[in-house]
């Protein structure tokens, strides 16, 4: 019995916000496809309720047995556009409502998969689904939506990018009475992973098995604490080593929970996603880790380099700790969910331009950023196009989750409450990319050689 290891673990949980962020059950809905929309919606509701019946209880039992907090239990499903394609006469919103009802019934706090994969073009259900997103997100509470508009192999579908600028804005407008929260549940991806357990971008890819358990671990607070405690006087090689070791321990815990959940639910284990996902709790912040490495404030020059080190060290530590790593795996930088980022954005040290650079080396992209309500759909499309281009060229996942704050200007704030947090509205460059966006078409896939 090694007392110091035991006390270290307990300290991580008690004081450093170590937790398993989510157990996400991926459920395929391909066998629910039916030309009769009502029948399909019924089949979807029944299948989710049947498969996920014990998900929440099992999560709570494991949490109690091991003494580890498991914060969220969630569900991801096959992109609904694939199901909706079979019933053109019915609005896909009907499916969103079925998902919402099923999620409530089984007690999960989010269900992801109101999604379409259109990186190379639109299928029959895709148009209808994308057009219905604002209505679906305003009339449901637990449903999350995502659209993949580009990939390294296919290029960027600029017609989809054009559409999404408008859809994001409309979604915010339709939920203007609720802090525009609809837009916080909508992610526009490039290179979207099919096994991501984190919301709002989770969906169950068509290449996945019928049902699978994916687990997302977290722990920015633990990494920050270890740098604070042991990082003094160390060079960056040693800092990277410290982060790796810590990521290893965190991921092992996730792996244990994933295996146990998979065994108890009799569902195959998919992946552990070893992301550092911040929460608004003080201390549980990725920005504080970067500041702990020696930056005066997140957003200062040097932030991108520090984040690159962090993101890579987390992956290296985690990969060895789990039999199967997937999802987004890295460091998230959602502004409104991270106490340090909120402070940095308020003080003006962290700007949208800097965040865009950071997304080239973090695990996802521009995440949970409030922008002025008068930002035009074309500018939002421009933001999406830039972000997708970074992902496409660098063979990584990037995403945009911006929240146009209807009726508010830069400097004011939105407050979503809970894990989604709060944050200042950040200034956006207003010069118009209108003509560029209006052209539509496709940005061809980039060359995979001659990489300079």
């Amino acid at each position: 019995m090694n007392t110091s290891e035991i006390l270290e673990t307990i300290n991580m949980i008690d004081n450093e916000d170590l937790d398993v962020r989510t157990i996400t059950m991926g459920i395929s809905l391909l066998d629910c496809i039916n030309p009769d929309g009502e029948k399909a919606a019924g089949a979807i509701y029944d299948k989710i309720c049947r498969y996920a019946e014990n998900l929440v209880k099992t999560g709570e039992d494991i949490s109690r047995q091991y003494g580890i907090p498991i914060i969220n239990k969630r569900i991801s499903v096959t992109p609904i556009a694939m199901v909706a394609g079979a019933c053109p006469a019915m609005s896909p919103v009907r499916f969103a409502k079925a998902l919402d009802k099923a999620a409530r019934n089984v007690g999960v706090n989010f269900i992801g998969g109101y999604s379409a994969l259109v990186h190379k073009g639109f299928g029959p259900g895709d148009y209808a689904l994308i057009e219905s997103i604002p209505e679906a997100l305003s009339e449901t509470e637990l449903v999350c939506s995502s659209v993949n508009v580009g990939s390294t192999k296919a290029g960027i579908n600029m017609d989809a990018v054009k559409k999404m600028g408008r859809v994001v804005k409309e979604t915010a407008e339709r939920t203007a009475d609720r802090e525009c929260i609809g837009a916080a549940k909508l992610v526009v991806f490039c290179n979207a992973p099919e096994d991501n357990p984190f919301m709002a971008g989770a969906f169950h890819g068509p290449g996945e098995p019928d049902c699978v358990i994916n687990v997302g671990v977290s722990g920015p607070g633990v990494v920050r604490a270890v740098i604070k405690k042991e990082g003094a006087g160390k060079d960056l090689t040693q800092i990277a080593e410290l982060i790796k070791r810590t990521a290893f321990k965190i991921t092992r815990m996730g792996q244990l929970v994933a295996r146990e959940a998979s065994r108890r639910l009799c569902v195959p284990f998919g992946i552990v996603d070893l992301s550092l996902a911040p929460t608004p709790a003080i201390g549980d912040s990725v920005a504080y880790i970067l500041e702990g490495m020696g930056l005066e404030q997140c957003g200062a020059h040097g932030t991108t380099a520090a984040l690159a080190l962090l993101n890579d060290a987390v992956k290296k530590g985690g990969v060895m700790a789990s039999s199967s790593v997937g999802g987004l795996s890295g460091a998230f930088i959602p502004v409104t969910e991270d106490a340090g980022m909120i402070e940095a954005a308020r003080s003006g040290c962290l700007t949208l331009q800097k965040l865009e650079a950071m997304t080239a080396v973090c695990s996802v992209g521009l995440d949970m950023i409030c922008i002025p309500g008068d930002t035009t759909p074309e500018v939002i499309s421009g933001i999406i196009a830039d972000e997708a281009a970074i992902g496409m060229v660098n063979s990584k996942t990037t995403a945009v989750r911006v929240i146009p704050a209807v009726g508010k200007k830069a400097g004011e704030e939105l407050d979503f409450g809970g894990l989604l947090g709060m944050g200042p509205i950040m200034a956006v460059n207003k010069a118009s990319p209108r003509e560029f966006i209006q052209r539509g078409g496709r940005i061809p896939a980039p060359l995979q050689s001659l990489k300079n």
Partner: protein, 93 residues
């Protein structure tokens, strides 16, 4: 041979008379066998770590945790009960 299942009980808080006695009494009541105990006082803070065998326990780990939590609240101590798997997986390769 029957596989043994172990858990780790940790008690952290202000030192006082009878902590060990009360915790072990509860363990005995639930057929939880104490295998190892280490305790120390760090800057007036009492820290005790116990390794216990729960193979024949009459309650599950989770319930034992609840029972000891109650005791902890009464005595103003932080008591954790965790399955040993968590420490093995986090600290051993």
């Amino acid at each position: 041979m029957e596989k043994t299942e172990k858990a780790v009980i940790t008690v952290i808080g202000k030192d006082m008379v009878g902590i060990l006695a009360k915790v072990t009494a509860l363990c005995a009541e639930k057929d939880v066998n104490v295998l190892e105990v280490t305790q120390s006082i760090l800057q007036e803070l009492f820290v005790m770590v116990m390794l216990v065998d729960i193979t024949r326990a009459t309650v599950r780990v989770a319930d034992l945790g609840d029972i000891l939590d109650e005791l902890g609240e009464k005595m103003d101590l932080k008591i954790h009960v965790m399955h040993e798997d968590i420490f093995n997986s986090m600290h051993k390769i």
